[in-house]
């Protein structure tokens, strides 16, 4: 379903797929009424949303700061205009001037067409929050996308990709749908690969009781990112950690943050807390996943339905600590490639994790070159919030959304000789950038950060 009424949009989940994630799609003739009820609830609950609705003066500062607008030049991808798709409805039904003067003050009736517009444009937003940083009022337009997607979810309008991931999480405990035997098979395979390539014995304990560290990998690592898992396994082995991976929640991501911040997001958290308690662990260490780290660090404390007694840290909080205290012997010569770093938006803008990445990367490669802008000012890869749709229309948008990133990478010169590395320590960034570095002919290979650390380790 690439285009409806001229709108680009990802294929929607079927009724059956929506039921799998506990939603009975609302019939078309009731959608408008139900959407308005939810919008009313949301505005009463979320002040951040009301602020976005009430405070924008249309200064336009966000426009040139949004890579989706820069890549497509579609005016509805200007963050304030995207928010306007809801704001005009909010005005019409929940403000005095909108009720009285309607279109004269930019208010508009909610219709099915407007809902389709929401679906199209809220799934062209990467939820990267670069616009929030540029807004003089501090309006976080991502919060508007959150509200839009949540209401669409309740109506039964969710991309197939997101709905199927939600269902896989509930069924298998990870987004990719990997049953426990396949997790173990892959990890045993990687142990052999590590032995063969690095000559060291590394085991990946699964569900091992009384472990100190519960390591939460991204499940995409089991299909696509072998060195990310291998790097984590080598790091934990090197520091002599008593660690394990839980089969019931082998997932660093949490798509609930991206389309359903109620059941779907909470379900994932509940699984994590259950596994932590059952395995008697002391600390939770998060793998390379941007949105998942935001969901973990920023949402678990308030989303958990019981006391959380375990510290939750990121893998690169750990690795940077070990690097900065000189506890790892690293040979950057093992990664002798011009390397640049893509800051995942959810690390830099949502979780304040930028220095750690640099401390580790500089210790693991010979030639690290910053791209500009970077850290909290970095541009999104264009895959943010998992808009990794692959039908030709949506794929074409992904190429446009990554144009700014391509420009940034090119400007570093790391790919000039075709042997550069683009370090992108996040599963969505990796899934987006693997094909995009080819589309934009950047001359770089995409690498995780722990991948490079694993390779650089010097074993006694």
């Amino acid at each position: 379903m690439p285009e409806v009424n001229g709108l680009k949009m990802p294929a929607k989940a079927s009724e059956k797929e929506m039921k799998n994630i506990h939603i009975d799609p609302v019939p078309d003739d009731q959608k408008v009424e139900v959407a308005l009820q939810h919008l009313d609830e949301m505005r009463k609950k979320f002040r951040s949303f009301v602020m976005a609705m009430e405070s924008c003066v249309k200064c336009g500062a966000c426009a040139e700061n949004c890579h989706t607008y820069l890549g497509t030049k579609d005016p509805n991808n200007i963050p304030t205009n995207r928010a306007e798709l809801i704001r005009k409805i909010y005005k019409r039904y929940f403000t005095l001037e909108g009720r009285w003067f309607g279109k004269l003050v930019g208010a508009e009736d909610l219709t099915l067409d407007v809902l389709e517009q929401w679906y199209s444009y809220f799934y062209q937003c990467n939820e990267c929050r670069r616009c929030a940083m540029s807004c003089p009022f501090g309006i976080d337009t991502c919060e508007v996308t959150f509200v839009g997607r949540q209401i669409l979810h309740w109506l039964g309008m969710v991309p197939k990709l997101h709905a199927n991931v939600g269902a896989a999480m509930e069924k298998a405990g990870n987004h990719t749908g990997l049953p426990k035997p396949s997790l173990i098979d892959t990890l045993e395979f990687l142990s052999e690969e590590i032995q063969e390539e690095f000559g060291v014995e590394v085991n990946f304990p699964v569900d091992k009781p009384d472990s100190d560290i519960l390591y939460i990998p991204s499940s995409a690592d089991f299909l696509l990112n072998p060195y990310t898992l291998m790097g984590a396994g080598m790091f934990f082995t090197y520091i002599g950690a008593n660690w394990t991976i839980p089969s019931t929640v082998a997932e660093a991501g949490n798509f609930g943050l991206l389309f359903d911040q109620r059941f779907t997001q909470r379900h994932n958290v509940t699984r994590l807390l259950d596994a932590s308690q059952k395995l008697g662990i002391k600390k939770i260490v998060w793998g390379e996943c941007g949105h998942g780290w935001r969901a973990a660090k920023m949402y678990i404390p308030t989303l958990a339905d019981r006391p959380v007694k375990w510290p939750i840290v990121h893998l690169h909080d750990e690795t940077s600590y070990y690097v900065n205290t000189n506890q790892l012997k690293l040979d950057p010569g093992k990664n002798n490639h011009p390397t640049t770093l893509h800051d995942p938006c959810n690390y830099g803008r949502a979780c304040g994790m930028t220095k750690q990445l640099r401390d580790v990367l500089s210790a693991c490669v010979t030639d690290f070159r910053e791209m500009t802008p970077n850290q909290e000012k970095n541009f999104c890869c264009g895959g943010g919030s998992a808009i990794l749709f692959d039908d030709p229309e949506m794929y074409d948008l992904r190429i446009k959304f990554s144009a700014k990133k391509a420009e940034q990478v090119r400007a570093t010169g790391v790919g000039a000789n075709g042997d550069g590395y683009l370090c992108a320590p996040c599963s969505i960034c990796k899934a987006q950038l693997y094909p995009m570095v080819e589309e934009h002919k950047l001359g770089v290979e995409v690498k995780g950060l722990i991948d490079l650390l694993g390779k650089a380790l010097v074993w006694k």
């Binding site: 896989a168 990719t176 749908g177 049953p179 035997p181 991204s218 299909l223 996943c289 599963s427």
Partner: protein, 105 residues
Amino acid sequence: MPFVNIGGKEVELDEDGFMVDPEAWTEDCAKYFSEGEGIPEMTEDHWKVIFYLRDYYKQFQIAPMIRKLCKETGCSLKYIYELFPTGPAKGSCKLAGLPKPTGCV
């Protein structure tokens, strides 16, 4: 959900053109999908990849790690892309009758 006639049998496909029921797969299905995936002729190596995927799926109900697929079949990732121009996930999984991989892939 659309049905297509493959070798005299009605086969159900999802919106991405993947088989809904991997059990209903026959070699005719692979030949049928090859036409839409830019594969002019099915070679021995195509079948090697397809049968490996099917065996793995039968045992684990999921596609293998791509690195494992490459290692076990002796095909480099580059060669897999030559065999299946749309890649291991979309191309070879579709021909092998496996569901479309989901998640951040």
